[in-house]
């Protein structure tokens, strides 16, 4: 089944959507699938296995971000979760906020917050240097 076909099964086929909307819809499925593993892995490591959040402190984060592996994992998690969340919230805004001004305001605010979070998170993951504190 093609992406367009799967999309059309749920929306009026006589009213073809913009192709950007089809790819947004498909990206939600693709990123969602990746996030199932990334987020549940993150939750298991941080909250369940090996003592949970009680053992999460500065030293824990510092040793975790010692190499590139967990920095890459965390950055992927950050970016995919923000993108998936932003597009999901965009759909919610589209569904529930019908007044044009309010809709535009909420969408703009959402994108600004998400861009800010992506910038802060990327900066922290890339530039954290434990030697500054030892």
């Amino acid at each position: 089944m093609s992406v367009e076909q799967a999309y059309n099964n749920h929306f009026r086929p006589e009213d073809p959507p913009r192709s950007s909307e089809v790819w947004t819809w498909f990206f939600m499925r693709l990123s969602g699938l990746a996030l199932v593993f990334l987020v549940l892995g993150h939750m298991a490591i941080m909250h369940v296995i090996g003592g949970g959040v009680d053992r999460v402190d500065f030293d824990f984060v510092a040793s975790r971000w010692n190499g590139a592996l967990w920095r890459t994992y965390d950055w992927l998690l950050l970016v995919l979760a923000l993108a998936h969340g932003a597009l999901g919230a965009r759909t919610a805004i589209h569904d529930h906020l019908h007044r044009k001004g309010l809709n535009r305001f909420a969408t703009t605010a959402l994108y600004l917050i998400v861009a800010f979070m992506a910038a802060v998170g990327t900066f922290v993951i890339l530039t954290f240097d434990v030697s500054r504190f030892t």
């Binding site: 749920h10 929306f11 549940l40 949970g52 009680d54 030293d59 504190f133």
Partner: protein
């Protein structure tokens, strides 16, 4: 919440996906509401979580003060709620993918819904137990 469901079920929209297939009351409607609610709640926490983690840039004192607040009795229940919302959203999302891409997905919609709840509880209950220990 009830006014909201009633309004959706009484919606005059005849031509949308909503009328044709899934989203008309029952388990489909409830899973839709839970999926949206959990997604927005988790996104809200994600924003907070980016900011709290960035305290790591200000050194051990700042980060550990924040971590201790999260570990306090006040935030423990919220950690458990977050775990439930994340697990539910993950497996309900897989159900959505199955319904979209598997030709027989719609036919097994109810079964899939129960499977999602079952898997969610199987994973959630032990992890909640471990987190609250």
């Amino acid at each position: 919440m009830c006014w909201y469901i009633e309004r959706l079920m009484a919606s005059p929209i005849e031509t949308s996906a909503y009328k044709r297939t899934l989203y008309r009351g029952g388990s489909g409607m409830w899973s839709w509401i839970l999926h949206r609610g959990s997604g927005l709640a988790v996104l809200g926490f994600l924003f907070l979580h980016v900011l709290d983690t960035s305290l790591v840039m200000f050194g051990p004192k700042a980060y550990n003060t924040m971590a201790r607040i999260y570990e306090s009795a006040l935030f423990r229940p919220l950690e458990v709620v977050l775990m439930f919302l994340v697990i539910y959203h993950a497996f309900n999302g897989l159900r959505v993918i199955l319904i979209d891409f598997w030709s027989r997905g719609v036919r097994y919609e109810n079964l899939l819904n129960r499977a999602v709840m079952g898997i969610t509880l199987i994973l959630f209950v032990p992890s909640a137990f471990i987190m609250l220990r």
